[in-house]
Every structure is written in C-alpha cells, then in structure tokens.
Amino acid sequence: MIIYRSHILVCGGTGCTSSGSNTLMERFEQQLKEHKLDREVSLVKTGCFGLCEAGPVVIVYPEGTFYSRVRPEDVDEIVSEHMLKGRIVRHLVYHHQEEAQEEGQSLNDIEFYKHQTRVALRNCGVIDPENIDEYIAFDGYKALATALTQQTPQEVVDIIKASGLRGRGGGGFPTGLKWQLCKDVPGEKKFVICNADEGDPGAFMDRSVLEGDPHAVLEAMAICGYAVGADEGYIYVRAEYPIAVNRLKIAIHKAREYGLLGSKILGTDFSFDVHIRLGAGAFVCGEEMALMTSIEGNRGEPKPKPPFPATQGLFNLPTNINNVETYANIPQILINGADWFRSMGTERSPGTKVFALGGKINNTGLVEVSMGTPLRQVIYDIGGGIPGGKQFKAVQTGGPSGGCIPESLIDVPIEYDSLTKIGSMMGSGGMIVMDEDNCMVDIARFFLDFTVDESCGKCTPCRVGTKRMLEILDRIVEGKGEEGDLERLEQLAESISDTALCGLGQTAPNPVLSTIKYFREEYEAHIKEKRCPAHHCRELLHLEITDKCRGCTACFRVCPVGAISGTAREKHVIDVDKCIKCNSCIEKCHFDAIIKV
C-alpha cells in the first residue's frame, strides 16, 4: 500500500475545464515531478465541486484547503509553498465575501457548502470519476451487491417505495410506484432507460452527476434492471456533453471489466448491460415518449399517453425510465435505508434536490439542499445574494416549463407541491435569479421563444399556439401592445395547457402565466404607458445625457453610430433617432451622466 501524505484534487467538470483546469493538471504534474514530490503527493482529477463561479477550483487534502480561480502560474506557488513547505498560499484561498477577513480553509467552513446536504452529489469533487476503485471505496456497488445476493426484486421496489423518492426530472412521480408498475407487467424483455437529455437553459445538474460520479448512475440502473426484470439499459445523453459521455464510456468499460455489468453479475444469474445513445440536441427528446422514439432511430416526437412506458415503452416493450439525479439517489437509499432518506426533506418531498444556480447571483454553481429549504436560504446564504448591491426581483425555477417566483413568495419551502401551488414547478433544477434590471415581460418572451424553437411541431396547440403567444409578446416588448393582449395571452395559455400532446406544450405557457400573475403591472406599463419599468426593452427607452456631464467626449468617441454630438467641456446631446441603444456610452461614462429613460 502506498500512502500519499497529500492529495491535490483538480476539478474536471465542464465549468472548470472551460476555464483551464486541464492546463492546471499538466502544470501540477510537471511541478510535482520537478520538486520530487510525486511520490508524496497524489494528483486527482475529479468531478464538479459545485462552485463553478470560483473556478478553476483546486482542493488540497488533508487540510481541505479550497483554492479558487487558480491560474497556471499559481500552480508553481502552490507546489513550492504549500506542497513543499506546508504553507497555505493564503491569497489564493477562496473566501466568502462576508467573511472577507476570515479566510475559508476547510470545505465545510465555506458558507456555500455549510447549508448543503449532498446525497446525489456526494462523490462529485471527492473521487476520481474515471477510477472505479475510488467509487467502490466509498461504498460503490455495495447496494447492487446486496440487492442481488440478499434481496428479492420486490424487496428492492418496496424500499424505494418506502423512501418516498420522487422523480427528479421535474414531474415528481413516485419512483417506487413507477418501478412497481413496470415490474408488474409480464414480459421476457424489458428496458431501463436513464434520461440524461438535460435541456433546460441554465441547468447542468445531470451533467455534473455524470461527470463526477458516473458509476452511481450505472449501479442504480443495474439495480433497477434487477428490480423490474430488465437486462438492458440505455443512457440517452446529450451530444453537447462530451466530458460526461467520455466518462460514461470509461465507466461502462470498467464496470464490464469488473463484471459489474454484463452477464452473470457478481456470479449471480442476473445479467445487465448498458448502452449510450447520443441526443442530437432537440429539447423535446427530454420528454420520455419522444426520447424512446429517438432511441428507436426515429425522429424524436412524443406519442399520446396511455399507453405508458411501463407497459409499452421502448420498442413497444415494458420500460422504466428515470432521470439521472433520481438514479443517483438509489444506491444511497438502499445502503442507508428508507428511513434515512425520509429523515431529510419534507413529508411529501423527502430527500434532497440539486439546483443549478445561475443568473444574477454571486455564487453561480451547483448546490444540493434538503427539500423544504426556503428559496431565500438558497439564494442568499448559499448563493451569496445579488451582485452589485442590486435589488432581487424574482427567481425562475423549472426552466421553460416553470415560472417566476416574486420576492413576496421567496420564503416558500422548496418542494414539489408548494412550488406547483404558486404557479411554478420544481422542474429538473434550473434556478435563474433575476434582479431589478430584468424585464419580466422579456423573460417570459425569452422562454417562450425557446419553446417555439424547440416545439417538434407534431400537435397544433404547441406548434401554432405558442407561436401566436410569442407574437403577442414580441409586440408588447416593441411597444405595440394593445388593450386585451393580456386576456388573449391567458386564454391561449389555457387552451394550450389543456390540449397539447406532451409536457413540453402543456407547460410552455407557465412562464407567461406566472409573470402575468405576479408582475401584471409590468405588462400593463408596457402596453398602456409604452414604458419598460426595468429599462430593458430597447424599443421602449431612450438614452439621455444629464447635467452631470462634464463634456469629456468619452461617449462621443465610443458611439459606433455617431449619435452623440457636442463640444469638449460642454454637455453632450444624444440624437435619439440615430441611437441604437448599445449602451457603450453608459459603460464608458466616468460621471454616470447617461441614463435610460
């Protein structure tokens, strides 16, 4: 056995990879060799730590030192100071803004992690996702081994049922019940599918699980196969997730080599294998029926339900389909028991949920909290609040199917039912924070624009209805809104929800409905007063130079269309007809003299 005295963990998630963590790995390797430390210090590439905003992230154990925004040239210092001489490089240590004086050293000291409960993400940023042994070390494949040797399929289903786990893809359907339905359908051949077609704008929970802990998903799929009586599984993952796909491939290969996938797993009679199918980028393929149609090799379009996948799914055979995060919970539930799982979260929504925090928030990244945590805690305590001292306005959950939650409801606990009640939804876990500069009409328009783009066109309500709604919203933000537009929108929304074929269409009007419900006055300002209260909609504002202007000519020089005129040391004037509202002058002005009105 080789003991390393220290482990350097470099984040290999997509966020940190794009900010250069691969270069860091190479530099560390070279520096450790140079200082002859490669026998003492182990270098590991892990999955996402969650705090993508501070990336690339490097964590050094045993101290648990959290280095953030590490540049390649910082590596030399970390190695020569911390690794060689044992002195933590303080100026590279991440510190939370509120604790500016007191630098965070251990992971658990950092505000961002303090309020989190990591179940689905428990291995992300801790193990090397390409090393199956490390997964096994943290109780990996123990749940599968126990299930195969000591539990009947029905016992496995019963534990999942008792845990109260609900689908983490957004719908919130009880997972145990889903498994039971599939198990009860007679049939020689059944399938297990993992839905990793994560398409919501700004959501990357599933990607991080696949990148950071791919074996957890494979193990859970095998357990599911055993429980429902399937011997074949598919992971449908977006082609836009190259790192996740690559790690999955390595994981599947390794698991086969270890006999944890394939025929006669662990010497039992149970056989199960997994294939990867890449999605070509259609949002609708995240809808289960469309996803299965796509795996079959056809154009991804939904089908009417029933029949449900449990009876007639992939290739018309009984199929169980769950989302990545749902699967990531399964091994933990089997190891620790249903009661343990129920001890987290709320009565009707047990467990935890992963959220991708984005938008106007200080700590952009991935968080996992107990269900029932108030939104406020996620946004302010974990997310670190709104940057630039701006005012919080709303938070959007559930992506294009969800809604906007205003400040008055920010103390609502996060769980399936409470979010649905206030016109939003849990969704897969995207959480986009908006501040006073965001126009709610434009936000609604953005999400609807997305749905119109992604509508597969099979059913009329979705294909035509959402398009009509978008046209109305386009008019409103251009200042051509009419009396009665809001009523028309509401009416259209209602008929689309009632008549669309699949979840995409049924929920597409949600962003519009929830913004009308909570920000009606903003819509009315656009329609009646032709004014955008957030000063966001270009057609409804113009730029003006106030008396603060010192005549420095900075704006004059930066204007790309020559709309600003005036002489030096005198107040300049903007020609509103020429102005294209690019805001370059506002950014350039040193005296805050240019305002939007």
Binding site: I2, R5, Y61, G86, R87, D133, I136, D139
Partner: protein
C-alpha cells in the same frame, strides 16, 4: 468476474489510499512535520519520508502526515508534532529517520510517547548543559 469478497477487498484497499479526503476526521492521528527552510535544511524531508514509509508499511490509513511552517525554535529542527484524538499534543525534536520510525511504532501504534525525543527533556538537558 468479481465476487463479493473481491469487491470488499477493493473497497478496503482503495479507502486506505483515499481516506485522506473524508471530511469527518474524528479518529484521525496527525503527524505534522516542520518543513520551513530551517527544517528542510536540518533534514525534515527525510524525516517526513520516514514517517510516510513507516505508516505505509504498517498500513496505518488513519494517520495523516502533513507539514507546517517554522514555529520559531529552529535549533531543535527537524521537529514534528503528533496529535492523537483525546490526548495532549506531543512535540518531538531533533529527529532523524530512525527516530521517526520509533515514534510510529511506540507512540502511534502502541500509545507510548517516546519521552526521550520530546522537547521538554531535550530542552532541560540543554539548559543543564549550559549551566554547567
């Protein structure tokens, strides 16, 4: 084809290797070696390697060996602190590889601090020497 027993074996072996990354370090024994310029010049690196080799040999996965800066008594380097939960910290001074190995076997494994290497005795001896 892996069996259950093999799986358990992989689990144990790998855990020993990566135990360092766990956040709950309640039962952990820590050896902290002074590795500032003074310590390194006095041979602290060899001492630390000796601690690591000895811990590896004995498969002591609950022991972490880390380093620290100068604590100001450079004349006693190489130095090391041993922390065992529930016990007082013990500081060893003027170490070498042989002493490090003895500390691992006598103190960490058997629970008897090696008094003759600790700072108090050394210190007193030196003070006595000066007085004479």
């Amino acid at each position: 084809m892996k069996s259950l027993a093999e799986l358990e074996q992989i689990r144990k072996q790998t855990l020993e290797r990566i135990n360092l990354r766990r956040e709950d370090k309640g039962s952990e024994v820590r050896v902290v070696v002074g590795m500032a310029t003074c310590g390194i010049a006095a041979g602290a690196r060899n001492v630390m390697m000796a601690f690591m080799t000895e811990a590896s040999k004995r498969k002591l996965s609950h022991v972490t060996i880390s380093q620290t800066g100068c604590i100001g008594t450079c004349r006693f380097e190489p130095m090391a602190d041993v922390f065992i939960p529930g016990q007082d910290k013990v500081t060893y001074v003027n170490l070498d590889e042989r002493k490090a190995a003895r500390i691992v076997s006598e103190h960490i494994v058997n629970g008897n601090p090696v008094k003759e290497f600790t700072i108090t005795n050394q210190d007193l001896a030196q003070e006595k020497g000066n007085a004479q």
